[in-house]
Symmetry: C2
Subunit: 150 residues, 2 copies
């Protein structure tokens, strides 16, 4: 469905589906962007701080973004992001974990300087199949209004 | 050089080198993780909110991490990240922009619960070749002490 600023009402929660990352995908991403031993080397990772290989937090964040593009933002109205207020990675993500993504609108206000858009603050929460929170992100997006003259 | 917790003294600034992303790299990353029109389609992007193709903020963040792994954190002491306090993308990143990464230690304190480590808060700033800030990130990392008994 196409959403515009008017549709992002604080309290709205959107189910953004699930994904998982294989060991090979975790290693490939980390070799390119985050080549720390516990992300790229399963043998060294066994003796490392997490007792096994874990995904780069930036890999998890990027995979989350894919779900948000599919389920939460719309190409007709998305005007990019100002940034993120907080990311937390309370638990490691391991190969094969299925992560569920849920997005909730926290705040929505019209831009003071640009009448065609609003600023939407959203909380994305990722949980594993045990229901444990593995990541939360508070993102700030610019979203086009459906009716800028209203 | 290998850094331990004791080396991350507030005020320390580390030059973390430069990188750039080609149009093909920007599109490939975004097709996988952030397939919005202004990240994946140069023609549509021309008429879009940025007047041309721009990199996904998560691509820029991941490339930043590669520089931090090479220049700022050490495999001997890095125990992963708790999260990020803030990311801001004040200006778009375009194909071929050369981005310079600088990291500054903001805070460093020993963990109250785990005597082998400390918590280091760092500011990473990315500037383009005009000296304009394109991204800043405040990251929170767990770092092993060189001398836990000191």
């Amino acid at each position: 469905m196409t959403r515009y600023f008017e549709d992002y009402v604080p309290g709205l929660t959107v189910d953004c589906g699930s994904f998982s990352m294989s060991e090979a995908e975790i290693i490939a991403f980390a070799k390119e962007y985050d080549p720390q031993p516990f992300h790229v080397d399963p043998v060294e990772a066994e003796d490392g701080p997490f007792g096994g290989l874990i995904a780069s937090g930036w890999h998890t964040t990027s995979m989350m973004m894919r779900q948000l593009v599919e389920f939460y933002v719309s190409p007709e109205s998305s005007l990019g992001a100002a940034g993120v207020d907080e990311i937390r990675w309370p638990r490691p993500v391991r190969p094969g974990d299925t992560l569920h993504v849920r997005a909730t609108v926290l705040e929505a206000r019209r831009s003071a300087s640009k009448p065609d858009r609003g600023i939407v603050k959203s909380l994305a929460e990722l949980t594993n199949s045990d229901g444990d929170l593995v990541m939360k992100v508070t993102a700030i997006n610019f979203i086009r209004l459906r009716n800028p003259l209203a």
